[in-house]
Amino acid sequence: MKLYCLSGHPTLPCNVLKFKSTTIMLDCGLDTTSVLNFLPLPLVHSPRLSKLPGWVSKDGSANLEKELKECAGRVFVDSQPEFCLPERELLDLSTIDVILISNYHCMMALPYITEHTGFTGTVYATEPTLTIGRLFMEELVNFMERVPKAQSATCWKNKEMQRMLPGPLKDVVDVWAWKRSYSIQEVNSALSKVQLVGYSQKVELFGAVQVSPLSSGYSLGSSNWIIQSHHEKVSYVSGSSLLTTHPQPMDQSSLKNSDVLILTGLTQMPTANPDGMLGEFCSNLAMTIRAGGNVLVPCYSSGVIYDLLECLYQFIDSANLGTTPFYFISPVANSSLEFSQIFAEWLCHNKQSKVYLPEPPFPHAELIQTNKLKHYPSIHGDFSSEFRQPCVVFTGHPSLRFGDVVHFMELWGKSSINTIIFTEPDFSYLDALAPYQPLAMKCVYCPIDTRLNFHQVSKLLKEVQPLHVVCPEQRCSVLNLPHRRRYERIYILPELANSLVPSEIKPGVSLATVSAVLHSKDNKHTLQSVPKPPPVAPSKKRKRVLEEPPAVLAPKTLLSGAVPLEAFLATLQKHGFTEVKVEETADGHILHLQAEDTLIQLEEDGTHIVCDNNEPLRTTLRDLVLRFLQKL
């Protein structure tokens, strides 16, 4: 069992597990932190960004002013943002049999893998994961395609050049593997390879292993995976949460008795308590609005935003924010809000029971109905005419490099009455803000990361008690998992099973010798009775048959036990061997059957019969000896 680690990002993993005869990719995360090295993509022409000075090294030897721009002491690439793909050289990705997705954040690299590596397998994901993952991809493509950039910067990637650049550009690795966003065709093609699964559904892979998703409590449809055969169990824990938010709670008990537990996607904000952050979020929001300022919340279009809206739903009236407009701007805002209401099966118990009434599970339905929350596909169109300030805007992308958020940064950044509140933990907020400096706007950092923290992990491990825990972390590393397989499941067909004769050799332990034909098909093994030889040909040919030597590979039966002298003598007596002379030796006895001129040497661990070529006599004696022995 081997584990290949293809991503260096702690919460956007991409690992490959080789187990039995299968090659399984666990998650397909896309490391988006690379985009922080790029200039933002403005929706409308930004004089500020276009006037940024180009970068020239101090001694003037390197001139990349077309590709690199300087802003507040940092250098950014002026090009369409690029993403850091999972490692593709470590192993042949076309050999991947299946890809298991744990949540919609961890599938964003899927089109790169399924479309460009010769992948021919199947991707497994839950229905909400697929639906929301698709929304995320569509949103990403939309963000990129609506502001096309003619230029594609590559000169800075030259090793010689890169060495001269200031940090952090100087230190980024594998820049040639960075890729632009995929197209919508690639998204559709990639997602057509997804097969939907439900929690606790058992999926057979080539008869060799069985995989099954379990609720992980982190997001809608998020799952951990069990990969098991009859004798081995590997748990893949990725992005799990023990907190009570909107998704179905984490299924911990099914992780028990794992031989290996692969642990990824732990919280990146172990010190930030999500509840506390939520409170801080609300109070900062209210404070800014009361002072007449606007609030910008850069966020993903699904996930924590549902919790934020729910929190605000309870908070709005008590904080006197009833008249403040809340805007949610994203090409997929409407879909995200609508879809969230139809996945009752995947929600926590509280929300689930609402649909029985029938009421929509999330209160944002009511916010929309009462016109407190409005959603728009982009800042263009209806939004520009209906837009009122002061307001609260939820929009993406949280990296602040593309999407409608760029526009609001330019619009509100210069005034100190406005506030930007970061809630997504994926990006360092200082890095995110860097190309907008100098900035007058207030910045509040309330990262809400509900994934497992160290304390919760140790509690979880105590609870489920895996034999081994593996935490892949280094990109491009290969781990040999410490597990040896010793048994495999085999099925004995009823006919054979009925013919077995068990005998008890110790209290509670029985043995039966099995001679059978092994059939292996689709990694399933069965044992069948040995087919009876074809009926012996008529007597004419009988002689010939006798002369036929036995089959070369006849089964070898072992014997166990000992032949007790007294009992054996009695048996001999009973069968007409009366003249027996017993002689004691160092290791046992020698029995001399005088009438038959035969010696039987009895020892603790062996019996030797020496006789003339008298086959009936020999077989009789053989069978008498065998009476005392156990066949194995």
Binding site: V509, L559, G606, C611
Partner: protein, 601 residues
């Protein structure tokens, strides 16, 4: 030999009060718990005294599974769980769990409040009963206990309808509930994988029907409604609040839109809006098309269909009314029917199956004079039309499902005996498998022949597979040999050597040495080489060696030659072999006894 027993308490050669008991691998499961629309007495509910004469059912049943929310499948549930007594788990899908209590409450109201019956379950009992429900997701494997597992498949029939696979060890049963093999306007088609159950319990409502294409039926339906409206007539469509009603609503809604019709369409009872809301929230259970477009346009928000008020029935002019219940056996549909039955211009369209004993069944059979409660009679003058919109599988669909699941036996329920008989013959002929159709209270027994799962040591398996080569050779089957250790309920198959080691047993060597007398004049050395040549020519495929120390070795059998000093012509061959080479050893001794062939040289 293990067996699976199936006993219908209801729906055995009948439609109504579906309730089937299954015993499999020591587990007892009740499939559905329905009521019969055709009866108002004890026969309304399944006869639970079959399970036990006195007391509660909890200890006799491991679980109860409800396939969908129609009352003939869940109508007796509160009676069973609260009045007879059952506290174990009841499994149903989320939509069924949501809608079932509403229909039960409706049913209760009609029976108790309108008909004034006593000794019936109460609202509280419905609530208590629903507390015992465990929701089931599609394809999720639910472990009822350590041995019993169940899995739901999409059945299509109504929102949330499911087929269930019940599995204990390697034995399994699939119960279809009601299902539909063709997608309709709002639901998808039933699907199951090739799970090869021992028994497939299938409904057979339309066992003998092969229905024409859906499009034709829809066109027919719209034409009839349209003609009646044009004539100024009123059209009554008795439906069940959820299910077919939504499909027909979608159909009429689009037709009204396209034809720009103005006649009002009403939907009776307060359930409409609520029902449509359920469809909205459980949209993942509808068909692909509705799911894809729901963000832009929700199919269940109707523009032309309005809520019905009792007073509207007397309004002049044409109208279409969907009213519940669907078999005209009670409630609003029956009231409206009584009002409209006297006019030839009006029409009633029965879009689904009607159980014997209901007014729906009577008028469909051409009865024109109905006796009502209170000895009055009702003359039926309005047009009666029947259109099969029931989302049941037809004969073709049932055969299709059998082909999909590949069961070893089929058992038919939920159909009429005569029709079942016909289908049974067809199934047995086409698939050459047994088909059963027990009546209520009758038990069908199916023998199963499960394989025994055993853990084989990987070493042994790999060794065997390496020896056996990549492809099996049917002409020379390889026999593998091993020892099965049975200990603490575990079965392990290991090599004999391993078994000795694992169990701490000593090996006992059994050897044989045989003296064979030969008459041969040549010196010992030559005799030996003649023996060698002879054996070499006879034993093809064996390893035969002439060792320098004066022995011939065949596999591990040793052969030595000695001559007695008195008679140099008489030689003694000593054959020595261990018990493991018994066959070969025995063969050699008889072979050599016959002497050596004449010297060739």
């Amino acid at each position: 030999m293990p067996e699976i027993k199936v006993t219908p308490l209801g729906a055995g050669q009948d439609v109504g009060r579906s309730c089937i008991l299954v015993s499999i691998g020591g587990k007892n499961i009740m499939l559905d718990c329905g009521m019969h629309m055709g009866y108002n007495d004890d026969r309304r509910f399944p006869d639970f005294s079959y399970i036990t004469q006195n007391g509660r059912l909890t200890e006799f049943l491991d679980c109860v599974i409800i396939s969908h929310f129609h009352l003939d499948h869940c109508g007796a549930l509160p009676f069973m769980s609260e009045m007879v007594g059952y506290d174990g788990p009841i499994y149903m899908t989320h939509p069924t769990k949501a809608i079932c209590p509403i229909l039960l409450e409706d049913f209760r109201k009609i029976t108790v409040d309108k008909k004034g019956e006593t000794n019936f379950f109460t609202s509280q009992m419905i609530k208590d009963c629903m507390k015992k429900v465990v929701p089931l997701n599609l394809h999720q494997t639910v472990q009822v206990d350590d041995e019993l597992e169940i899995k739901a498949y999409y059945a299509g029939h109504v929102l949330g309808a499911a087929m269930v696979q019940i599995k204990v060890g390697s034995e399994s049963v699939v119960y279809t509930g009601d299902y539909n093999m063709t997608p309709d306007r709002h639901l998808g088609a039933a699907w199951i994988d090739k799970c090869r159950p021992d028994v497939l319990i299938s409904e057979s409502t339309y066992a003998t029907t092969i229905r024409d294409s859906k499009r034709c039926r829809e066109r027919d339906f719209l034409k009839k409604v349209h003609e009646s409206i044009e004539r100024g007539g009123k059209v009554l469509i008795p439906v069940f609040a959820l299910g077919r009603a939504q499909e027909l609503c979608i159909l009429l809604e689009t037709f009204w839109e396209r034809m720009n019709l103005k006649a009002p369409i009403y939907f009776s009872t307060g359930l409409t809006e609520k029902a449509n809301h359920y469809y909205k929230l459980f949209i993942t259970w509808t068909n692909q098309k509705i799911r894809k477009t729901f963000v832009q346009r929700n199919m269940f928000e109707f523009k032309h269909i309005k809520a019905f008020d009792r007073s509207y029935a007397d309004n002049p002019g044409p109208m279409v009314v969907f009213a519940t219940p669907g078999m005209l056996h009670a409630g609003q549909s029956l009231q409206i029917f009584k009002k409209w039955a006297g006019h030839e211009k009006n029409m009633v369209i029965m879009p689904g199956y009607c159980v014997q004993g209901t007014i729906g069944h009577k008028i469909l059979n051409g009865q024109r004079k109905l006796e009502l409660e209170g000895r009055s009679t009702l003359e039926v003058k309005l047009q009666v039309e029947y259109m099969s919109f029931s989302a049941h599988a037809d004969a073709k669909g049932i055969m299709q499902l059998i082909r999909m699941a590949e069961p070893r036996n089929v058992l038919l329920v939920h159909g009429e005996a005569v029709k079942m008989e016909f289908l049974k013959g067809k199934i047995e002929q086409e698939f050459s498998i047994d088909c059963h159709m027990p009546a209520n209270g009758e038990t069908a027994t199916v023998q199963t022949n499960p394989s025994v799962p055993v853990d084989i040591s990987l070493n042994l398996l790999k060794r065997e597979m390496a020896l056996g080569g990549p492809l099996p050779d049917p002409k020379r089957p390889r026999t593998m040999h091993g020892t099965l250790i049975m200990k603490d309920n575990s079965l392990k198959l290991v090599s004999s050597e391993q078994a000795l080691k694992d169990l701490g047993l000593n090996e006992h060597q059994l050897r044989f040495t045989c003296r064979v007398q030969l008459q041969d004049q040549s010196p010992e050395q030559e005799t030996l080489s003649r023996v060698y040549t002879h054996l070499k020519s006879v034993l093809k495929g064996f390893s035969v060696q002439l060792l320098p120390d004066g022995t011939v070795m065949v596999e591990s059998i040793l052969i030595k030659v000695s001559s007695s000093p008195e008679d140099p012509d008489s030689k003694t061959l000593l054959l020595s072999w261990s018990y493991q080479d018994e066959d070969l050893g025995s063969f050699l001794s008889s072979l050599l006894k016959k002497g050596l062939p004449a010297a060739l040289c």
